[in-house]
């Protein structure tokens, strides 16, 4: 700690930080633009000027940029100094010379860092009387709107997009007061992390194009803390609503999971909530009037349950609460995971090794701090994008740490650090089936069939520990194994990443063996397995049987009523299996939010709430249970959480007449009782009756406007606000106005800080953890002193077959995930179906890019254009996973590929 004096007041501050960070950390309002906690300092905007004095007797001092000065013990500085204040105000005046002052029509208005800083510096009257410079805007795709005239040239967009996220198609052009931030020409931004520009830009140059379609000011949004639905990472988000429509998703900072950034699927995939494809009313099929009300449907459901065996099909995208409520209703033995058996088998293995407690799970923060990373099999760029962004930071930070060793240069000095780093990178081995954007960061890149990747993994483990049997590999792969093993061995904080994406169980074991072999006192090893969906881990942890078992049972037993929970089975198993299931069950009750192939087969269809309309808990890939909160109470009372419907059915089944109110935490307690492996989940977050000073927490900000006028065309009196019995939140602006505990932060907003930059105020120090941060509850317990065990069963090497190809999924950030694909922008960016094979295989078949081929899967033929690729292993074929309109494939199975003769 150092002692510094700010305006003659003494403070103790942490060394290694700059003066701006010190001031912000002490709660002193100091304006800034080009600095960002995740990006460091470059000293471009000159906004954070302060006076620094030689000693306590120096009265003249010298103006410095606080973001570019290190903390020094005994330093005297002044924020309030007249010259410094005047200069800060002048910087705003300069920036405003060309700014269009279009706040009333600007999407950023009300949550604009430039507005906040302008007010903070006190600049008001304009003295610049000349013409403003203007720019032409660009089309940047369906997600980001571009309005260059508002630009204040802070360079943060380029530093984020290019330097931090590795994007190549956004940069700064031209010079002097014509500098331009955009693409070389109009076009869709290529990076799947482009949405963060909206939050990184201090003003309205880059704004959320989807929000624009149903625009609402931040102060008019009703918001709640949420958790992203679109992959297994579980990024924390803030979801905002007005007039019963979900308007936008913004990042909810936390230091352990996603930090400051989201991927575009997570940010822009929300629009499925507003989709015209929503199920809005209970439906009983094969009746004159199919749409019915709650009383009728409940009565009917009672009949379907009576004298029937009721089985439940769980869901990897439904909350723990909903899955648990279904399990409670049908009984543990009648609950099935709604996923294919092949996937269930792999996920079972993942749960087993994580529950063994032999290795600690890797959080995204761990990945960012890793000094060597091995990705074995999983295409994380597409299956867990924000994890790939974390991997990039790990690689870059390791290089930075390396060059900063034995130097006095502080880590926050971004440009200088980058200059020293040049092309140096920390160690990353990206071992996947096909090419990935991560390859360019990799020191070792390997593209092999999954079995061969697993063999590579075992070979690495074998080099780290003698317990793993020797694997015969070709000399090239053997070399790679040696390089990777050596790099991991040298690392202090190695991270191993694998996942279920390749449908290969041996990969899971190989990754585990490597991690266990590294788990010595010299290493802090971490292990991560990516799962397919937002609650795949929560579902897998039930350890229930797979869907094929349920199908088998329905074919053998009569009188089965099946309840399918938020699950389009046609996406999870091949169509003929799903068809068999629906033909075999007597009755089928489906809960879901959107119409799909499965809901078409429902005898009774019940509308389910999406994440925005309900409460629930998701377990992410690392076993972290995180709660999402209802954002708004839908006007349509039929839309409610599946667990609420299921609780109602439970009441009917058990004929409990007593009106009992269930809260989400009651379901979690019940879940813990049903399945001890979930121990701790009920205590993950404050309960519904949590209050601070007797006050609930408001979802609407204090400046929420026009509440009394919203329905004035219908009635002059203001209706009673809706009550929330499930959470500590109100739906209004009334309630506690201080800082809530971290899982309950519905918006970042502090006096003078209306933009997302208000996050500073919620952190222990700028860029650090939130005050009293609780980023969920980890359900896997690490047992430090456990004995090392190894898997020793190594798969055979992959053998190319004649006329047959082993089919694997190729994931896409846009298109492979079910719900986000209903959002217009995400849908637009989804690829068309194709079949990718190696260039050599294509040559042998006489195929070129775009040639049509037929592949045969279960007697069903699909015609697809071919995409040839140098980096795909021979004998392997890839098809985009999960595209709308494409059926589920039997992955990791052999298919025939035939050229279509035209």
């Amino acid at each position: 700690m150092s002692t510094i004096y700010i305006d003659n007041k003494q403070y103790n501050v942490k060394e290694g930080k700059n003066l701006l960070e010190a001031c912000l950390g002490l709660g002193i309002d100091l304006p800034y633009f080009c600095w960002h906690p995740a990006l460091g300092s470059v000293g471009a905007c000159r906004q954070c000027a302060v006076k620094v004095f030689k000693d306590e007797n120096d009265t003249r001092g010298r103006l410095v940029m606080s973001c570019m000065e290190n903390i020094k013990d005994g330093l005297h500085l002044s924020v309030a100094d007249k010259t410094a204040k005047a200069f800060r105000s002048q910087v705003i005046e300069w920036l405003m010379t060309n700014h269009p002052h279009d706040c009333p029509v600007c999407d950023e208005g009300g949550s604009c860092h430039l507005q906040d800083m302008t007010v903070m510096t006190g600049h008001d009257y304009r003295r610049f009387h000349y013409k403003k410079r203007t720019y032409t805007n660009q089309y940047l795709g369906p997600l980001i709107h571009h309005e260059m005239n508002r630009c204040i040239q802070c360079y943060r967009c380029v530093r984020y997009y290019h330097d931090y996220a590795g994007g190549k198609d956004l940069n700064v052009f031209s010079a002097h007061n014509h500098v331009y931030f955009g693409r070389e020409k109009d076009g869709v931004l290529e990076s799947p992390f482009s949405g963060n520009l909206v939050e990184v830009c201090p003003t309205g140059v880059f704004t959320d194009k989807t929000l624009r379609e149903h625009y609402t000011r931040k102060w008019d949004l009703t918001t709640a803390p949420s958790v992203c639905n679109h992959c297994s990472v579980g990024c924390n988000t803030i979801a905002g609503e007005r007039y019963g429509q979900l308007r936008c998703i913004t990042n909810r900072f936390n230091s352990e999971v996603n930090g400051y950034f989201l991927c575009d699927r997570g940010r822009f995939g929300y629009e499925f909530v507003n989709s015209a494809n929503r199920i809005t009313q209970p439906i009983i099929r094969n009746r004159a009037v199919e749409a019915v009300d709650e009383v009728v449907v409940m009565d009917h459901l009672k009949q379907l349950m009576n004298n029937h065996t009721v089985i439940g099909i769980g869901s990897a995208r439904a909350s723990v609460e909903s899955n648990a409520a279904l399990m409670q209703l049908v009984g543990k033995e009648n609950f099935y995971q709604g996923i294919s058996d092949s996937l269930r088998f792999i996920q079972k293995r993942i749960v087993e090794v994580m529950q063994s407690g032999k290795v600690q799970p890797a959080s995204l923060q761990d990945i960012q701090q890793a000094d060597a990373i091995l990705v074995l099999g999983e295409d994380i760029w597409n299956t867990a994008p924000v994890m790939a962004l974390a991997v990039r930071q790990g690689v870059m930070k390791t290089a930075a740490h390396h060059v900063l060793e034995n130097r006095e240069l502080p880590g926050w000095h971004d440009a200088a650090v980058r200059e020293l780093v040049q092309q140096e990178k920390g160690f990353l081995a990206n071992c996947t089936i096909a090419a990935s954007p991560l390859d360019e960061l990799s020191s070792s890149t390997v593209h092999l069939a999954p079995d061969d990747l697993a063999r590579l993994g075992f070979a690495i483990a074998g080099r780290l520990h003698t317990s793993v049997p020797v694997v015969q590999l070709d000399s090239n792969t053997q070399n790679q194994a040696a390089i990777i093993a050596a790099a991991l061995q040298q690392a202090k904080r190695p991270v191993i990443i694998s996942g279920a994406g390749c449908y290969n169980e041996a990969l899971i074991r190989a990754a585990f063996d490597i991690a266990v072999a590294l788990n010595t006192p010299e290493h802090e090893v971490r292990l991560a397995y990516v799962m397919p969906e937002c609650n795949s881990m929560g579902l897998a942890m039930t350890q229930s049987a797979g869907f094929e078992n349920a199908v088998l049972r329905t074919t053998r037993e009569e009188n089965i009523t099946a309840i399918v929970l938020e699950n389009d089975l046609y996406r999870n198993v091949p169509a003929h299996i799903a068809d068999l299931f629906f033909n075999s069950v007597q009755h089928c009750i489906v809960f879901d939010s959107l119409n799909n192939a499965t809901t078409q087969n429902a005898d009774v269809l019940v509308p389910a709430a999406t994440f925005a309309e309900g409460d629930g808990t998701l377990v992410n890939y690392e076993g972290r249970a995180q709660r999402f909160y209802q954002v708004y109470m839908p006007a349509n009372k039929n839309i409610r959480e599946s667990w609420k419907w299921l609780q109602k059915m439970e009441e009917i089944r058990t004929a409990q007449t007593a009106e009992q109110v269930y809260h989400p935490e009651d379901l979690l307690v019940m879940c813990e009782r049903l399945m001890p492996q979930f121990a701790g989940i009920a205590g993950a977050v404050p309960h519904h009756d949590f209050r601070i000073n007797g006050q609930a927490l408001p979802r609407a900000p204090h400046r929420y406007s026009g509440r009394t006028a919203i329905l004035a065309n219908l009635a002059v009196s203001e209706p009673k606000p809706k009550q929330d019995n499930d959470s500590p939140f109100t739906f209004t602006m009334e309630g506690y106005s201080g800082m809530p505990p971290s899982p309950l932060i519905p918006f970042f907003w502090r006096p003078g800080w209306n933009s997302i930059q208000a996050v500073n105020k919620y952190q222990q120090e700028p860029g650090g953890a939130l005050r009293n941060e609780q980023a969920g509850t980890l359900l896997f317990e690490y047992k430090r002193d456990g004995e090392a065990v190894y898997f020793k069963d190594i798969p055979e090497a992959f053998m190319v077959r004649k006329d047959k190809w082993l089919l694997f999924p190729q994931y896409h950030v846009f298109g492979s995930e079910e719900l986000s694909a209903y959002s217009k922008g995400v849908g637009e960016l989804s690829p068309e179906p194709y079949l990718a094979i190696s260039s050599r295989d294509a040559d042998q078949l006489g195929l070129v890019d775009g040639s049509l081929v037929t592949i045969k899967v279960f007697e069903q033929a699909y015609e697809l254009p071919v995409a040839t690729n140098m980096l795909i292993p021979n004998g392997v074929a890839l098809m985009p996973a999960g595209l709308q309109g494409m059926p589920a494939m039997n992955w990791n199975a052999w298919v025939q590929v035939m050229s279509v003769k035209l």
């Binding site: 470059v42 000293g43 471009a44 905007c45 000159r46 906004q47 000027a49 010298r62 103006l63 410095v64 570019m68 200069f87 002048q90 910087v91 300069w94 920036l95 010379t97 060309n98 003295r127 610049f128 000349y130 204040i152 040239q153 360079y155 700064v172 031209s174 010079a175 002097h176 007061n177 014509h178 500098v179 060059v403 240069l409 000095h413 440009a415 200088a416 200059e419 020293l420 780093v421 040049q422």
Partner: protein, 424 residues
């Protein structure tokens, strides 16, 4: 009077080729250094000679070198760069050296590279110096062929590669860190210091950037010693200096003279005095980014210390004379137009402040200016001062403006009063 740098330069005649250069003592300094001096000794010699950077900053060259990490553990490779991006308005002295005696620069660069044990050297040349580029290419090739460049120079074990890099015409590239960025293929924006280029320069490696004229002095210092070099000066500084005079003088030109000649001597003796009908009104002594000196300063010695004491800077030593028929407001507007256009756009005060200054000056010149504009100009001279901006471009731009406001304020006020330019 000795003119070591330009003694063999004869305007109108082609420069010496390698043979001619060698015959007049060329590369003798290199042979001497390589045969008998350690890098540290060369550094010490140059430090003792009092040679100051001729690019404008006037920092002791040997001292600058001494910050480069030396020895076996020093980062590799190290770089030596000749800053030949001469773009200061009114400045044309490096051009004379580049076109007049390219081998002198190359030898100087090899000596400097030896002193810091650099492995690779670049000449960063202004794009418009096409003739110099051609001559340098030829001379570098000759030097390689003769074994003065490349691996194991003259059997000494010391190796040096040399490349010519031609810029694309940005004033900013004259700033040494922006030059480094440009050389790396990045935008020509300056870097924050520290870290200084001596420690983290080109590609993050130790780098020295020296001006062409500075480097051209080195063979002569090595050949003749520090004392000889000190004795060349007229005042407090050592050596000779290339001085230039432009403006309404009879004989504008560039001359090598003992450092420390007076302004008067330069204008009246060497430049032949003011043209008929024009009277001296003021002078920018060291290029466009230096403060005006006026009639009261005619006897100021043109060395780093004396010019600074008079309130300006020696800069590049190439002066722009302003006569009494030229409007100071228009004169300064012309300069500010240049500086606003050459701002790299990185930091706010320079990017937004200079165009504002330029617009106010134009407005004054056209008769639309107000007294508030003059005040605002005055304010900007302080707001764009050193430390407030990221690099020295805007503070340099403010030097002629602040001194014009000081010495020629009446002219500014007349523009406001008359609603037009009094010079017509």
């Amino acid at each position: 009077m000795e003119r070591p740098l330009t003694q063999y330069i004869h305007p109108g005649c082609p420069p010496f080729d390698l043979r001619e250069y060698e015959m007049t003592g060329g590369y003798a300094a290199l042979r001497k250094v390589i045969g008998s001096m350690s890098p540290q000794e060369v550094q010490k010699l140059v430090q003792e000679s009092g040679l100051k950077g001729r690019g404008g900053a006037g920092f002791n060259t040997g001292m600058k070198w001494s910050f480069v990490p030396m020895g076996e553990n020093a980062p590799q490779p190290k770089y030596l760069i000749a800053n030949a991006d001469e773009m200061e308005p009114g400045t044309f002295k490096d051009r004379l050296l580049l076109e007049g005696n390219p081998h002198q620069l190359i030898e100087g660069m090899i000596l400097a590279a030896y002193a810091i044990q650099a492995d690779i050297s670049y000449i960063f040349l202004r794009w418009a110096y096409k003739k110099a580029a051609q001559l340098l290419r030829k001379s570098i090739h000759e030097a390689y062929t003769a074994g003065y460049l490349g691996k194991n120079i003259l059997g000494s074990g010391f190796s040096l590669e040399m490349h010519l890099h031609t810029g694309v015409g940005r004033y900013m590239c004259g700033e040494e860190t922006a030059l480094l960025n440009a050389l790396e293929g990045k935008r020509a924006t300056p870097r924050a210091k520290p870290p200084f280029p001596q420690v983290s320069g080109l590609y993050g490696k130790p780098t020295i950037v020296n001006n062409v004229e500075t480097l051209c002095n080195l063979p002569h210092i090595v050949n003749n010693g520090a004392e000889w070099f000190k004795g060349l000066g007229n005042g407090k500084d050592s050596g000779t200096k290339l001085y230039g005079v432009s403006g309404k003088v009879n004989k504008p030109g560039c001359w090598e003279l003992p450092i420390g000649v007076t302004v008067r001597e330069l204008i009246e003796e060497h430049a032949g005095g003011m043209k008929n009908g024009y009277r001296f009104k003021g002078v920018l002594p060291g290029g466009a980014s230096t403060d005006f000196l006026t009639t009261e300063h005619l006897d100021v010695k043109m060395d780093f210390v004396s010019v600074a004491a008079a309130g300006s800077r020696l800069g590049t030593g190439t002066m722009v004379v302003m006569d009494d028929a030229t409007c100071p407001v228009g004169f300064v507007h012309n300069l500010q137009h240049f500086f606003a256009q050459e701002s790299c756009g990185f930091c706010t005060p320079c990017r937004e402040g200079l165009p504002w200054v330029e617009k106010m000056l134009l407005s004054l010149e056209r008769g639309h200016g107000t007294a508030e504009d003059v005040e605002m100009l005055q304010m900007h001279t302080q707001l764009l001062g050193p430390g407030n901006t990221f690099c020295a471009l805007a503070p340099g731009a403010m030097e002629p403006l602040q001194s014009a406001l000081k010495y020629f304020r009446e002219d500014f006020e007349k523009h406001v009063e008359l609603h037009k330019c009094p010079y017509g």
